[in-house]
């Protein structure tokens, strides 16, 4: 695998995202797998932000910490980001009067970094173009340094600006031509050679994790979505809201998170598929309702987009700190299912599953994702829609006639704790969805025997669910290839993780096993986090020479859950809790410490 990384930095609102998106689109169309990663601060204008693209001929699902090309809109990038540039890399900037301090100058020279200052302002002046056109100029210069065909970029610009009128389009084309001419005029242009293109990528989508989840939600037949803005769940709300006139979904921006989850619960109880999503603080507010859905056995799907806490924390950064929250939140004991999205593929695939599980087991399903997934840009193939099945587990008309009100919460061990659920408004016996402890028809019932029996009934569902859920997925990586699960092969080194870490771990292991041809590494990835399956983990960790836990939190929360459920402790951990996602090169270095012959 060959990969190149490129980071655009600038003030928020200056056009960083615009340049990043144009380059991403162009490179994907040209035949590369592109992975985009945004960093920004919790403010609207002026904060230092960046948009990084990692580009490869092979599939990649992560960023590198160190980049080949750094593009700086303003001098802040020159001050803060030059140490992010690789040996032999390039810095492009447009701060013409910039002077390096001695230390930085020495560093740049020592690392053989080429610095190019671009005459953007002069070019725009000559073209009488407004400052916003600087984005196009910058994009085109980078495009030329990457030795890409200017015609491809031109057609992209036509697609993007064609609707804005001939004049706007022409100015963009002029900027493109000026940029190409400028690069051609350079005596020693620092060209970067990308790997050979692969045509399969050009037919892929370029989309964020939020869009991927949104597609999954629409596909799953969710008809009501209620939300309250909170980063990083807001892009999902915005996306579904923007789609509402086409999907005809009911989208409601509620007055707070409690309202959002109550509305979604009410809509789901009535028989629609409904959902809400939020981040940690908002989820805290929802937890009383989570518990309520537990006792009234109401299916509900809640997205929990993680960012670093506690408190307001780091609002626009990423974390995996809410696993234990998802598993343990809410008062009293009740069954729930916790799933975790890891990339743009399962962001889609898990949504129909989440709704099916919620309706099958009549329990809350929490879908974890994080800021990294919500806003990362993925090169993604079209989703398989053929195999999706919508399973509602509702009685048919004949069955409805047979029902008694007392069947609603009837205690019957034969059904795995699942009693019939039917919808208000249907012509049948009625019942009360009762948040007090209750008897079969939802009448309040405080008897001791009933209390134990109803608790047993509800918790019994967890066993049935656990039996249905798959064990964690094992990726065996050897000689730079990921192989299918082979039970006969036990990885000598076993890495363990969940969520968005997957992309970086797999990318790092591919590199690591290319360097070390004798190594058979395993990555055990948890998608289904509650109820927690531990058989495969127990088996593999016993056979492995060493087991290493990788998580984006302080305490190693999956490790804590595993120890709680099966007694196995994982003392070796790679933990990160600075708001940044794991990067491939960073993990490569950390993982190699564990596989060197002297370790273990």
């Amino acid at each position: 695998m060959n990969r190149i990384s490129l980071k655009v930095t600038g003030a928020q609102g200056q056009g960083v995202n615009s340049v990043g998106e144009m380059l991403a689109r162009g490179l994907k169309d040209a035949g590369y797998c592109v992975f985009g990663y945004r960093e920004y601060m919790s403010l609207i204008k002026g904060g230092h932000s960046s948009y990084q693209l990692d580009i490869s001929d092979a599939h990649i699902g992560s960023s590198e910490q160190m980049v080949n090309i750094l593009v700086c809109f303003n001098h802040h990038g020159l001050e803060r980001n030059i140490r992010d540039v690789k040996q032999g890399g390039i810095v492009l900037h447009q701060t013409l009067d910039w002077e390096w301090n001695t230390e930085d100058a020495r560093w740049l020279q020592g690392h053989q970094v080429t610095v190019v200052s671009l005459p953007t302002e002069q070019v725009l002046h000559e073209l009488k173009a407004p400052p916003i056109l600087g984005n196009t100029f910058l994009t085109a210069v980078v495009w030329s340094f990457l030795q890409q065909d200017c015609g491809v970029l031109e057609s992209l610009l036509r697609g993007r600006f064609g609707r804005k009128g001939e004049r706007v389009l022409q100015m963009n084309i002029d900027c493109l031509q000026k940029a190409c001419a400028y690069v051609a005029s350079l005596e020693k242009a620092p060209f970067v050679t990308l790997p050979a293109t692969n045509v399969r990528w050009s037919g892929h989508m370029l989309l964020t994790g939020s869009q991927a989840m949104g597609f999954g939600i629409i596909h799953a037949g969710c008809r009501v979505y209620a939300g309250y803005p909170m980063t990083p769940s807001s892009p999902l709300l915005s996306f579904l809201a923007d789609m509402q006139n086409r999907t005809r979904m009911v989208i409601k921006q509620a007055e707070d998170e409690i309202t959002a989850v109550q509305m979604a619960s009410g809509a789901m109880h009535m028989g629609a598929r409904a959902m809400t999503a939020t981040s940690g603080g908002g989820f805290d507010l929802m937890t009383e309702t989570l518990s309520m859905n537990g006792i009234i056995e109401n299916p509900i799907v809640i997205g929990l987009a993680m960012r670093p806490g506690p408190g307001t924390g780091l609002p626009t950064w990423t974390a995996q700190g809410d696993l234990l929250l998802a598993v343990h939140s809410g008062h009293g004991e009740f069954p729930r299912c916790v799933l975790s999205v890891s990339d743009a593929q399962d962001a889609f695939d898990l949504m129909p599953q989440a709704f099916n599980l919620a309706e099958q087991y009549q329990m809350p399903v929490i879908v974890l994702f994080d800021k990294h997934i919500a806003e990362a840009l993925y090169t993604q193939e079209f989703y398989d829609q053929e195999h999706t099945v919508i399973e509602r587990h509702l009685p048919d008309t004949a069955q409805l006639q047979e029902l008694q009100g007392a069947d609603r919460y009837a205690v019957s061990s034969a059904s795995g704790g699942v009693s019939p659920r039917w919808l208000p408004g249907t012509q049948a016996a009625t019942y009360c969805a009762q948040s007090d402890e209750h008897s079969g028809d939802g009448s309040s019932e405080e008897g001791a025997q009933n209390a134990s029996a109803q608790m047993d009934k509800r918790m019994h569902k967890l066993e049935a669910l656990a039996a249905q859920l798959p064990e964690p997925e094992l990726f065996t990586v050897h000689r730079g290839q990921i192989s299918e699960v082979r039970n006969a092969v036990h990885p000598e080194v076993l890495f363990l993780g969940w969520g968005s870490t997957k992309g970086a771990v797999l990318d790092a292991l591919l590199e690591l096993t290319s360097d070390n041809s004798s190594l058979i590494a395993g990555y055990l990835h948890y998608t289904y986090l509650w109820p927690l399956k531990t058989d495969r983990f127990s088996l593999l960790s016993q056979k492995a020479r060493q087991t290493i836990l990788i998580e984006g939190n302080k305490q190693g929360q999956l490790g804590m859950l595993l120890r709680q459920q099966c007694g196995i402790d994982i003392p070796k951990k790679i933990l990160k809790y600075d708001g940044r996602p794991f990067c491939t090169d960073e993990l490569h270095e950390l993982l190699s410490q564990f596989i060197s012959p002297t370790s273990g």
């Binding site: 707070d256 009410g266 009625t430």
Partner: protein
């Protein structure tokens, strides 16, 4: 009435206003020809919430202060089913007051019955925001230091589309109010003044009975917002009851949704696999 009856025994105190409200709800549904499977009754937590298993019909008994958003969500999913949500003055004007504000603003088509006994009955007589200032209560032996919340003035300030006030001692009037509320397009706020013989020693059944009067008999025009607000707020000598205000010209929340224009089905009927290929194509 029989179709709404249920085997469970009522657990309210003798003389509790909930008996009258309970009877009025059942009678109004029967008089409107709504069968038990054709209604959704939602209850907050409090003494009134113990009605949830004392009658038939599809019912929900949830969390304290949160009944309005659950009921509103249910309504969005299936606008065909009439919804009556119940909450006390604690749930409505303290714990969940934000929900009331936005429900009136959104004009969800549903009935909200405020079981107004001016105290927290089920937790044994603490003061609510509607308890009289200075009144000694459980947990406030020196009397309530806070000002009484002017609930009617507050509700009218939110531009409601339906406001009524009933009295738990007058079942026929409650029935006529509830029938109009159920048929109202939008959020129908019904303030039911109810006796709490155990904990409310100030606004008793007799005290209320002496003061209430029927605005319809007084010739009140419910389309007159200014007059309605004035007679709703001023309870110094007499307490107005009946339909105080109604505006039928304002569309309910669901009707305002552009995304739902021209669709005959409702979300509950639309759960199926949706093809997103067209959307995917746009992201290539």
């Amino acid at each position: 009435m029989k179709s709404y009856s249920c085997g469970n025994t009522c657990t309210w105190c003798d003389g509790c206003g909930n008996y009258g409200i309970w009877a009025a709800i059942k009678r109004s549904l029967v008089e409107l020809g709504i069968p038990p499977h054709g209604v959704f009754l939602c209850y907050d937590v409090g003494c009134h919430g113990n009605m949830s298993d004392k009658l038939s019909g599809y019912r929900f008994h949830g969390l304290h202060g949160r009944v309005i958003p659950f009921a509103a969500g249910a309504k969005l999913a299936n606008p065909r089913i009439p919804i009556i949500a119940h909450g006390g003055d604690g749930a409505c004007f303290s714990e969940g007051v934000g929900h009331l504000v936005h429900a009136i603003r959104s004009n969800y088509t549903m009935v909200f019955i405020l079981h107004n006994n001016a105290n927290y009955g089920l937790t044994t007589g603490q003061a609510s925001a509607l308890t009289w200032q200075g009144q000694p209560m459980n947990s406030a032996p020196n009397g309530m230091p806070e000002a009484t919340l002017p609930s009617m003035d507050f509700v009218f300030s939110l531009q409601p589309t339906f406001v009524a006030r009933g009295f738990s001692g007058d079942i026929p009037q409650m029935v006529s109010i509830l029938k109009a509320a159920i048929q109202h397009r939008g959020f129908a706020f019904v303030d039911m003044l109810q006796a709490c013989p155990t904990y409310n020693t100030f606004a008793t059944h007799e005290w209320l009975l002496e003061r209430v009067y029927d605005v319809a008999a007084d010739g009140h025009d419910p389309s007159d917002f200014v007059r309605a607000r004035a007679i709703a707020v001023d309870t110094s000598e007499r307490i107005s009851t009946g339909i105080l205000y109604q505006n039928t010209a304002v569309p309910g929340f669901y009707e305002r949704l552009k995304s739902r224009e021209g669709i005959q089905t409702f979300p509950v009927e639309e759960v199926q696999k949706y093809d997103v290929r067209e959307y995917m194509q746009e992201l290539v």
